[in-house]
Each structure stands twice: as C-alpha cells, then as structure tokens.
C-alpha cells in the first residue's frame, strides 16, 4: 500500500470505529475515535519526515480522471491541525454532550451520533487538504458542507438551530457551486483537473479572471468573509464542540486553505488579489467592531473568527509566507476560547457576558488556560500568537504606511475585544459556581500548553511553516521565513507595541463608547447582506407560491403549463434555425394505401376523443389510436416497434380502466362536465401545442436522411453483435439513455407505490 494513504485511511476509519464502539457502549465512542485520530496524526507526522510525495490512482482513464493525493507542507500543516484539534474536541464532547443532551431531553445514545458526525467532518477535512485535483477538491469541500449542516443542526428540535444549519448550508453550498464553476472553467482551459499540471500550464497561459473570481467566491463563503460572513454568528446555535472545531480549525480554515493551495493561479492576477485584500480588511473591520459589542460570548468569538480570517486573507492576498502560520497559530487559541465558553455555559447555564462575572475564583485552571488562549489571540509575547501578528505586520511594512495603520488598528481592536471577553468572564465581582468536570478542562489545558510551547520555542515552528509556505508558492520557490524575538526598534515591534497600547486604551474606556457603537452597528445591520438574504428567501417563497397557484388550479391549466412552454420552445427553435427546404411534401403511391388507411383510422379515433361520452369510452378511444399506430408500424416493416406498442397499449388500457375504478364517481362526472365546456385559453393552449408538434415532426421527417442513417445503423448493428437494429440502438448506441429512462421508470414505480399506500391509509 502506498505510504501516503495511511493517515487518510486512518482518518477515514475514525468514524466507523467510533460508531461500532458506540454500539457497544456509548461512552467508548469518543475514546476510540480520539485514539484513532491520534494514530492518524502520528502516521502523518512520520510521513512528513519522509519529504513531499504525490500519489496518483487512475480512476476513469478514458475520461482522463484520476484520484490524486499530495503530501507537502501545506497539507501536512492543515491535516495536523484538523486531527489534533479534532481529537481534543472529541474528548471534550465526551464530557459536554451528556449534559447537553439531558438538557435537550434527548437519549444519551445520541452522543454516538454526534461523535461520529464530528469524526466524519474531520475525515472530510483531512481529505480536502490532501487531494491534489480540482474536482476532488470540490467533492471534499461539499462533504464538509454537508456534514457541517448535520452538525450545526444537531439540536433538531430547536427551530433556531435548524434555521442556522440551513443558512450555512445554503451559503457555503451556493458558494461552493460557484467554486465548481471556476474549477470547470480551469479544467476546460487547461484540459486537466490535476493541480500540478494546471499550475504548470498556467505559468505560460494565466487563468481567466472569471474563473479565479469564481474560485475566490467559493473560498470566501467557506471562510465567512464579507459579504458572506453572516452565516457564522448564526451557526453559533450549534452545540459548543461543533463551534470550537468547525469555526476555529476546520471549516472556516478550509476557505483560506483553498486560496493557499491555488495561490500559484492567483499570483499573476493582481486585480483579483487586490479585491481579496480589500475584502480581508473589510472583514477585519466588520468582525472586530461586532466582536466589541456582542453580548453572547460565542457570538463574540464568531465575529472574532471573521476578523481573524480577514487577517489571513490579507496575508494570502499579499502573497505572504506567513499565511499558513497565521491560520495554524490562530486555530488553537480560538479553540481554547470556544471550549472555555462551552465549559462556562455548562457550569453556569448562562450564555451572555452580561450574566456572568468573576469566575476566576471558582474555575482557576480554566481561567489560567483561557488567559493563555486570549493572550495568543491578542498576539502577546511568549505565546504562539505573537508570531502570527509579527508575520502580519512584516507583510504590511513592505506595503507602506497606510497598510501599517490599518494593521495597527486591527490588532488593537483584537486586543480590546479579547480583553473584554476574558475580563467579562473571569474578572469583576465574584460569582460562585460548581467546579467544571476534569475532562472538560483538560483539552483546554493541553491546547494552552501547545500555545505556550510555540511561543517560548519559536524555532519549532519555523520548519513546518516554511514547508507549508513553500508548498503554496509558485513552482520552485522556497520560503525563508524567520521567527524569533528581536528586542530592537524595528517596525514590526513598534506596530505591536502601538497595537497593545491602542487595545488597552480602548478597553479602559469601553464604558464610554460601547452604547454609541452598539447603536451604529444595529443601524447598519438592518441594511446588511443578512437582510438581503432574508428578503431574497421571502421573495423566492412568494414566487413559488404564485407559480404553484397558477399551475395547479385545475387539471387543464396544469397540462397547459407543460404543453404551452414546450410548444413555444419548439416553434422558437424552428424560427431561429432556418433551413432550406424545411417542409417537404413527398408523394403517395398505391403501395402506401394500407399505411394511409391505418393513419386515417388513428386520426379519426383521435378526433372522436373530443366527443367521448364518459371516461371509459375515452380510454377505449385513446387505446384505439395506439393500436392503429401499432398497425402503422407493422405496415412500415417495424415489427419490433409494433410488438412493443401492442403490448404497452394493452397494458395501459387495462391499467387505465383499473384506475377509473379507483376514482370516485362524482369526481369523474364533474371532470366530464368540465371537459365538455372548453374555455378560450384551452383552445389556444391546445392550438399552440398541436401546431408546434405538427411543424416539428414535419420538419424532422423532411430532413430524415433515411439512406445515410438507416444503412449506417444496420451496418453498425451487425458489428455490435446485434442484428436486431432496434435492440442495438436501445442497448448499445443509446445505452446511456436507456439507463436514464429506466431510472425514471423505477422512480415512477416508487411514486405509484407510495401514493397508493397513502390512499389506502387515508
């Protein structure tokens, strides 16, 4: 087995293993899942020491499709992040979910479902970062979207949580479709979906701007950037472990990851990168300001995530080497704070900053660990977070003073809202609460320790972040990223000190500006994109209701709603594609007399249906048309078609008659009366449909190249081992069509079965 697959397979095995462990004992699911995730992490680390590699598994070579995986610094960094935070969050959920489920009034067994979904998400994330093919990238992206829908809507009895799940599904799903469009455009432009080949060909022939914008939209939707940011705060309705995993290290990271993976395509497109830069700064501002006034603590963290991924977006757009490091340093800090928020909600039952205070006395360990996380988020020294801001400032210094000022304000705001959050939870007047379970605190402590280790020994980070940065560089580039503490007056240090001073000042004066800012933000949020989404949804709902009422008012309108557009479409086709000798009238000889007689019979029966006295007669007349046509086929030397037509006609006549027996007499009589009184618009619809069908058939038959098509088909049928031409067409030449038709037949069968079952019950 190729070595490269080992971590992926282990990650994929987590969810099934946890499921079976959970069947045995619900509590075991988390331990087994976490152990498997750690095993995958160990395998991944071992493999990363072996250096970069690629694996190509041919899948459908005739279509040029293959499954391609890569092992490089970028995928290693993101996979390690997803696996380690994932394992810790799974253990945390072991302590969190039983309490949560009890409050929701659900059985304890549902915990297994939750753990399995969480592990599925982890597997999808690992898959996303390891694939090296545009199509697979899209598939993995959609896998994460679908699992995140199930996770965010895990409290299915809560309408708010269902709505939040739907919102995130609609937004991230819709933007990932846009991503797909971009991927297809690239695939068509370069003739391949394999990323290394695409990059190679893009070096000579830059990707089109439209495709790049499509790819960027998909990434922005995932990373909750302006204007798609509003799904993230709503998604906080999910259980806290979900938020702490998806919205710190996994789902939102996926968007920025996509941009880094595809960076060689964005490198020459300066305009697109400038757009991303603007969006990054905008997200930073919007997220930071909202985080300064939000009251529920998970919302503060959600807005902070929007802002922090804005930073990461700025770094990506600037082509900085520090972008992967930024995401990797942010993830544990944000996970710490989310997990802390969840632990506090479980212990106190409160969800808002205004309801809690002074918890440092009752939860000292949690307070200490989350202080480390907060310091990391605010980029204080001795934490890994310091370096995320250092690379950020370093990138801005190269751009000029205006960018430096923007970065300074952003970092200052970060410190201000982080202080506000931590002080709101743990500072202030003392509140006494019961101690938190150890398993709830342990993952937070482990993460905090990792944040400290990274901050004290930055040398450990240099190698992975260099490898990650090199992977997203244009072919052949290597990163020269340096991470160390410098005690001098360089621009980065000055900016950091300035940001801390600004943040501290903002925090100290918070009581003065909070009411004003709240009012301003409330005013603007009324006109924001969230409102646009609501209005759009409402209008779509109204449109569908209107169409529904128009269409189903009665049976004749329903039929007309299918026939009239089809007829108009057919006539438009005839109109816009003028052909020479469009309508040819052939000659009729004595040999055709039988044919003409059969056709005349069919027409007479068709006309007679207009005057049918009741439904049974109607069914008989329609079957008469069918049998006459079967006769036409028999005379036209098409025995196969004639045979099938006779059999189908017989079956359907009998089934129709059986159906009539099922319908109530009164309904039939009323329908009969209505049918005898055609309205004006019925005549018009019938006229359009009839004329269009007539003209289309005439035109098609006028251009029937009987010799060319016929002889060729017969010859090919012989070659295909099927002298029966009809069978050859059905099974071989048009085999894929037949497969489609047969699936429709089966769908109809399912429909009939369930409809008649319903009737039986009612």
């Amino acid at each position: 087995m190729p070595v490269l697959l080992l971590p992926i397979l282990l990650a994929l095995a987590c969810a099934p293993l946890a499921y079976f462990a959970g069947r045995w004992r619900p509590g075991a699911a988390a331990w087994v899942g976490a152990a498997c995730a750690v095993a995958a992490l160990v395998a991944l680390c071992w493999e990363l020491t072996l250096g970069p590699a690629r694996l190509v598994l041919p899948w459908a070579p005739t279509w040029g499709l293959s499954l391609e995986f890569t092992r490089d610094g970028l995928s290693g960094l993101y996979a390690a992040m997803a696996l380690s935070v994932g394992a810790l969050v799974v253990l945390y959920s072991r302590a969190y979910m039983p309490h949560h489920l009890k409050e929701e009034g659900r059985p304890a067994r549902d915990e297994v479902r939750f753990q399995v979904l969480l592990l599925c998400f982890m597997a999808a994330m690992v898959l996303l970062v390891t694939v090296d093919d545009l199509l697979l990238l899209f598939i993995a992206l959609d896998l994460t979207t679908i699992v995140s829908y199930l996770l965010i809507g895990f409290d299915r009895d809560d309408p708010e949580s269902r709505a939040a799940a739907l919102l995130s599904l609609v937004l991230t799903g819709a933007t990932s479709v846009v991503f797909f469009a971009g991927a297809m455009a690239l695939g068509l432009q370069y003739g391949t979906f394999s990323l290394p080949l695409v990059f190679e060909r893009a070096a000579n022939d830059p990707a089109s701007t439209g495709a790049l914008v499509c790819l960027a939209v998909g990434a922005l939707g995932k990373s909750a950037q302006v204007p798609f940011h509003f799904w993230l705060p709503r998604a906080m309705a999910a259980p806290t472990p979900v938020s702490s995993y998806l919205h710190s290290a996994a789902m939102v990271a996926a968007g920025v990851f996509l941009l880094q993976r595809l960076y060689p395509l964005f490198e020459p497109a300066v305009a697109v990168r400038d757009g991303l830069l603007a969006i990054g700064f905008l997200s930073m501002t919007v997220g930071s300001l909202m985080a300064l006034v939000a009251d529920p603590f998970k919302r503060v963290l959600a807005y902070s995530t929007i802002a922090q991924y804005g930073y990461a977006l700025v770094l990506v757009a600037l082509g900085s080497e520090g972008a992967p490091l930024y995401v990797a340093a942010h993830a544990p800090c944000k996970a710490i704070l989310f997990l802390t928020a969840g632990a506090i909600t479980q212990v106190t039952g409160k969800k808002k900053l205004s309801e809690v205070s002074g918890l440092r006395h009752s939860l000292p360990v949690l307070a200490g660990a989350s202080a480390v996380g907060a310091a990391g988020l605010a980029a204080l020294p001795l934490t890994v977070g310091f370096f995320k801001d250092e690379v950020f400032f370093h990138a801005l210094v190269e751009k000029g003073p205006l960018f430096m000022a923007g970065g300074l304000v952003g970092a200052g705001l970060t410190l201000a809202y982080t202080l506000r959050l931590w002080w709101g939870l743990f500072g202030g007047p003392r509140q006494d609460v019961p101690a938190a379970p150890r398993l709830l605190v342990a993952p937070v402590v482990v993460l905090a320790a990792s944040v400290l280790v990274g901050g004290v020994l930055p040398g450990l980070l240099v190698e992975p972040s260099r490898a990650a940065a090199s992977a997203s560089m244009v072919r052949g580039g290597t990163s020269t990223l340096e991470l160390a503490y410098h005690l001098d007056a360089r621009a980065e240090n000055l900016l950091a000190v300035g940001a801390w001073a600004l943040g501290a000042a903002l925090f100290a004066t918070r009581l003065r500006w909070t009411p004003l800012l709240t009012r301003v933000l409330e005013g603007t949020s009324k006109a924001g994109p969230a409102r646009g989404y609501r209005v759009l949804l409402h209008q779509l709902d109204r449109l569908s209701t209107w169409l529904h009422e128009k269409e189903v008012r009665d049976l004749r309108d329903r039929v007309a709603s299918v026939l009239v557009p089809t007829g108009l479409l057919g006539m438009t086709v005839l109109w816009v594609t003028p052909l020479r000798d469009r309508f040819i009238t052939g000659s009729v000889g004595w040999a055709d007399v039988t044919l003409v007689m059969a056709l005349a019979f069919a027409s007479a029966a068709a006309l007679a249906t207009l005057r049918a006295q009741n439904h049974l007669v109607l069914v008989m007349l329609i079957s008469c048309v069918g049998f006459s046509l079967a006769m036409v086929f028999a005379f036209a030397a098409a025995p196969d078609v004639a045979l099938t037509s006779v059999l189908v006609e017989t079956t359907f006549t009998l089934l129709f008659a059986g159906l009539l027996a099922l319908l109530p007499d009164r309904r039939l009589e009323r329908a009969q009366q209505e049918a005898q009184k055609p309205r004006g618009r019925d005549r018009i619809s019938a006229g359009i449909a009839g004329v269009s069908a007539f003209l289309l058939s005439w035109s098609a038959l006028s251009h029937l190249q009987a010799d060319r098509v016929g002889t060729q088909t017969v010859k090919l049928a012989e070659v295909a081992h099927s002298p029966n031409v009809v069978a050859a067409v059905l099974t071989d030449f048009r085999g894929l069509d037949t497969v489609g038709e047969m699936s429709v037949v089966l769908a109809a069968l399912l429909g009939v079965t369930s409809l008649l079952k319903l009737k039986g019950k009612g």
């Binding site: 099938t644 079956t651 059986g658 029966n724 069978a727 037949v745």
Partner: protein, 147 residues
C-alpha cells in the same frame, strides 16, 4: 354456467411467461427484447389478477416480490452500464466488443446486452405487476378492476 375463462387463463400463464423469456433471449437477433418481454409477462400476470383475484395470484413468488425485482433490474442495467468504467472502458461498453468472436446459435448469443435486456425486462415487469397489485389492493373487492 361455468365460464371457460378461468381455466383457460390459468393455462395461459406459463406459456405466456415462456414466450416472454424467449422474447428476451432472442431480442438481439430477431423481433423481441427486454421491454416487450417484461410487458408480456406483466400482461400474463394481469390476466390472473382479473380472473382469479389478488389472493390467488399472490401465491406466485414472482408476483409477491415484483417490486424488489424491479430494483434488481435497475442494478443489472446500471451494473452492465458502469462496471466497464472500472476496467477503463467507456460507460455502456458491451462485451464481446465489436470484432471479437462470440458464442451462440441462431438468434441467441452470449453477450452482455442480454444482461442489460434482462434488467429492462425485470423493471418493466416489476412496474406493471406492482401497479396492478396496488390497484387491486385499493379497490374494495380486489380483482374487479378489469373492463
């Protein structure tokens, strides 16, 4: 007066099914095919429903399991169409390929098109019989839905 229809219809069942099978098997070479085969078999069962009623007809195993049979048919069709993809062929590649020798006599040939047609037959048969069965179940005294 005792009608001659019930015994006659019972006698007709097996010959009809055998003719249906022959339609399927010789479809590649002569008149026939999976679709008419399924429709004919369905009609044969329909006759039984009309004459002897639902209870009597459901004694046959194929009638009781008609709906799952349609599912099996779809599996056959999809399998014949897409299994070759795994081996690197285009979808709906039938074997033996054009130019390769094949076994068979008369209109009957060993060809994967037969599996495909068999799937069609099962789907059509399943559809017709299931719908009849549902109709018969829904009418108060099952079996009198015929004209």
């Amino acid at each position: 007066m005792r009608s001659f229809v019930p015994p006659l219809s019972r006698m007709l069942l097996w010959p009809s099914l055998i003719i249906a099978l022959s339609f399927w098997l010789k479809g590649g070479g002569e008149v026939g095919g999976g679709f008419p085969a399924g429709a004919l078999a369905g009609l044969a069962v329909l006759l039984q429903y009309v004459v002897t009623g639902r209870e009597q007809t459901r004694r046959y195993v194929v009638v009781r399991y008609a709906a799952p049979l349609a599912g099996v048919g779809l599996l056959l069709v999809v399998g014949t169409a897409f299994l070759p993809v795994l081996a690197g062929y285009t979808p709906v590649s039938l074997f033996p390929r054009p130019g390769q020798p094949e076994l068979g006599a008369g209109a009957f040939h060993l060809h994967t098109a037969l599996v495909f047609e068999g799937g069609l037959m099962l789907i059509v048969f399943g559809l017709v019989v299931t719908v009849i069965d549902r109709f018969a179940l829904s009418t108060a005294n099952g079996g009198d839905e015929g004209p």
